[in-house]
Every structure is written in C-alpha cells, then in structure tokens.
Symmetry: C2
Subunit: 107 residues, 2 copies
C-alpha cells in the first residue's frame, strides 16, 4: 500500500502566504512594532513549553514562526536562502552533517 | 529562456536536518537549556535588525529558526503540521487570505 506523505510547507511558501495575509499591516507597523508582537508570542511559547497542552504548544510554535516571517518580509530577508546559506551544508561550526562541536560551544 | 527557481527548503526538511546535526546534544541540554540559546539568538536578531549588515541579518534569522527547530525536535512538535493547521487556510483571526482583522488586534 502506498502511504501519503505528511503535509509539508516550504519557507518560501510560508513567507509568501504571510505576505499575502499581512504585508500591508506589517509595513504600517514597521520592524520595531512587529518585533514587539513577535516577543509576545515568544513568551507564550515559553509558557506552552512548561505546560502539557500539546495542541496549544504546536500553535505557539506556528505563531512564533509566522511573526518571524512577518519581520523577514518587512526587513526584506529571504528565509529559505538564509537557511540554505547557513545550514544547508552541515553544522556552521564544524562543517559536519552530525555536529561534532564541543557541547559547551555554539551551536 | 527558462529561469531557475530560487532555492527553497521545507520545514520538514529543515527539522530533519537540524535533528541529524544536533539532536543528541539537544536532548542532553533539554528544552530549558535550549530555550536559553534560542533567546540569545533572538537578541542577536534584534541587534542585526537595528544595523545595516544585510548578510549578518540573514544569518541571524537563520539562527533563530534553527534554534526554534531544535526546541521543536526536543518537544516533539512537527512544525510543518503546526503551520498548516494554523495558517494553511488563511488568517486564523478572520479566515481571509488577505487579513481584514482590525489593525490593533492580533495578528
């Protein structure tokens, strides 16, 4: 039997979707105002990570990423390109696919 | 002439890549310790947003997303599924593809 792959979404797709939904408001609010909303969601994520509600936890991750995409849109950053440049060829610290950097070092 | 589409990466791909690179360390560090690293990157993103170095700004976005993916791996959250559930069908507030929620309301 064939299995259906789980649904997936790319960073370019998400960024375009968030742009369609919110770009006019995002630009009016600007980077600083948008960052405040982002930080509020980061706080909610911290709270959800301490809790036991897995559905709420998933929602808070989605909200944090949506606000990051919003800031990226206002700041003119392509998230896919940024991720591929930094993490597309292994750990930026040691260059390995499975990181061998010392545990106390970033990342 | 054909044009090459810009490179793209999906959330499932990124989460799998980050898992391969860092999962053993991430689990040893746990959610709380990982969240501290994430917050440090959020601070660096704030700093980069105030600056003029676009390359550094893109890197800081990549780092914040990488640490979010790390926390999601440790917490057992599927980011693609979370995003599709919350933002896959339009604005979660008003349900429209281009949001018509009042500007002072979330999101």
């Amino acid at each position: 039997m064939e299995t259906t792959p789980p649904p997936d979404i790319s960073f370019a797709d998400l960024q375009a979707k968030i742009r369609t939904m919110y770009f006019d408001k995002d630009v009016a609010r600007g980077v600083d105002g948008t960052f405040m909303w982002f930080m509020e969601e980061v706080g909610e994520l911290a709270s959800a990570l301490r809790g036991t509600d897995k559905e709420n936890l998933a929602e808070e991750f989605a909200d944090v990423i949506a606000w990051l995409a919003t800031i990226a849109n206002v700041a003119g950053v392509d998230l896919s390109a940024a991720l591929i440049a930094k993490y597309g060829h292994g750990c930026p610290g040691c260059g390995r696919l499975a990181c061998t950097c010392p545990a106390e070092e970033k990342p």
